[in-house]
């Protein structure tokens, strides 16, 4: 099936794949295989895994949507990063900063989501799919 990862500034990935695994808000992980029923869901800040004959690819998805229709899976997200494109030192710095901000004010929603984004980035960069 055809998979496309689209973010506002460019297309991150476009190609054939066997399965795609993403994480939706509230719904947990969901895996699509060819012939899946038409589906539209809201995605969490999480990792997406695209399994194809050329090997697995993991992407960090920062919020977005997934649309499955026919034999096509489209992931729309504000930011989608390939594992190789993630700047680990920067993500680590962002994580430390967000963690400090979150500790100072646990009610700070921005800090909490920044922390989550940084964590997902690091997880994806290290190749571990977060639970």
């Amino acid at each position: 099936m055809q998979v496309e990862l689209v973010s506002p500034e460019r297309i991150t990935f476009s190609g054939e794949a066997e399965t795609v695994r993403v994480r939706t808000v509230g719904g947990g992980e969901i895996q699509f295989q060819p012939g899946h029923m038409p589906f539209i869901g809201v995605l969490q800040v999480s990792a997406a895994k695209v399994v194809s004959s050329e090997g697995d690819q993991i992407f960090a998805i920062h919020q977005g949507f997934v649309q499955v229709s026919g034999d096509k899976v489209t992931i729309l997200s504000d930011v989608s990063e390939r594992k190789e494109d993630i700047d680990v030192p920067r993500a680590e710095a962002a994580k430390a900063k967000a963690a400090a901000a979150f500790e100072a004010d646990p009610g700070d929603g921005d800090a909490a989501s920044a922390l989550r984004r940084a964590q997902v980035r690091l997880d994806v960069a290290s190749g571990v799919l977060p639970a």
């Binding site: 689209v6 506002p8 500034e9 460019r10 808000v25 509230g26 038409p38 539209i40 919020q63 949507f65």
Partner: protein, 315 residues
């Protein structure tokens, strides 16, 4: 010895020449940046198309249109006007045209008895409206040249916030649409409210196949709720990218015209200068001849001692 007029002209030609060098450089820079901006605008298209497509599918899936962004006020108390201009000038009528369109919207709102809120992008619009003592709701600089999605989000969030809080009841977006390299058109679009989801679907050339029966998670309305803000961002982002491409195209044209003018001016001034030089040479010769005549035969005798003046110089 060059006369005063000749020297003056030579100086002016020099200054026009250096201006020409600058405008020529700016033209070339603008030319490369148009291409870049166009590519960016094209790269942004798939996302916009896909988002529109998902909205179409949502509408078909029965998403309830009760989102605050769909609120259609019965009486418009205040109109929000977004104007996208550039930070720098030297782009022909690019900024003036957008500012004029925005001001027309503002006047129209006033004649209907509504107040206005200006959301300005680009130093040129800010200068214009603040100089005329308009009140400015929000202003942004440093993003119109190469807008990023983050920039668009920042502005869109402000506008959506104003609208959701009921501070504005309608938002118009004035920007320059990039039609082709040669044609850019000032456009005013209704940004908010999203009149109906049907218009959203009709407006964009989305890729949705509305026939399919979709399953939604969490629910059609839930998806719509998180999708609509993205849609607003994406629309503004496209407008900003088009405006940036138009800005560079306009600047390229303006600088090309300036370079051509400089060339014409140089030709004109050089002719004037040559004429002045010729005139001064003629005067000088006349003076020499006049002087020689006054001295009479004595001078002639002197001149004959100079070899070139004796005819048939076979020394």
């Amino acid at each position: 010895m060059p006369g005063a007029k000749e020297r003056e002209l030579r100086r002016r030609i020099g200054s026009v020449q250096s201006t020409k060098k600058i405008t020529r450089a700016m033209e070339l820079i603008a030319a490369t940046r148009v291409v870049k901006a166009m590519n960016r605008a094209n790269d942004a298209k798939p996302y916009a198309t896909q988002v529109t497509g998902v909205i179409e599918n949502l509408t078909a899936g029965g998403a309830q249109a009760s989102h605050p962004l769909l609120r259609n006020a019965e009486k418009v108390e205040r109109v929000g006007i977004i104007a996208i201009t550039s930070d720098r000038g030297l782009a022909g009528s690019y900024n003036a045209a957008v500012i004029k369109a925005a001001e027309r919207q503002l006047d129209a709102a006033r004649t209907q008895g509504a107040d206005y809120s200006l959301i300005l992008i680009g130093k040129k619009a800010i200068d214009y409206f603040s100089f005329r003592n308009y009140k400015i709701e929000a202003q942004y600089t440093g993003m119109s040249d190469t807008p990023t999605y983050e920039n668009a989000r920042e502005v869109a969030n402000t506008v959506v916030d104003l609208f959701s809080k009921g501070e504005v009841d309608r938002v118009e977006l004035a920007y320059t649409e990039f039609v082709t390299m040669g044609t850019q058109k000032v456009t005013v679009r209704r940004y908010l409210p999203l009149v109906a989801m049907a218009t959203v679907a009709a407006e964009g050339s989305g890729s949705g196949e509305a026939i399919a029966e979709f399953a939604f998670e969490p629910s059609p309305s839930g998806v719509l709720e998180s999708l609509l803000p993205r849609y607003m961002e994406s629309r503004l982002y496209s407008a900003m990218l088009e405006a940036a491409a138009s800005e560079h195209a306009n600047r390229q044209r303006a600088m090309k015209a300036a370079t051509d003018n400089a060339e014409d001016l140089i030709i004109k001034l050089s002719r004037e200068m040559n004429q002045a030089r010729q005139a001064s040479i003629t005067t000088e010769i006349m003076e020499i001849v006049g002087g020689a005549e006054a001295l009479g035969g004595e001078a002639q005798a002197i001149m004959q001692t100079i070899p070139e003046y004796t005819e048939g110089t076979t020394v």
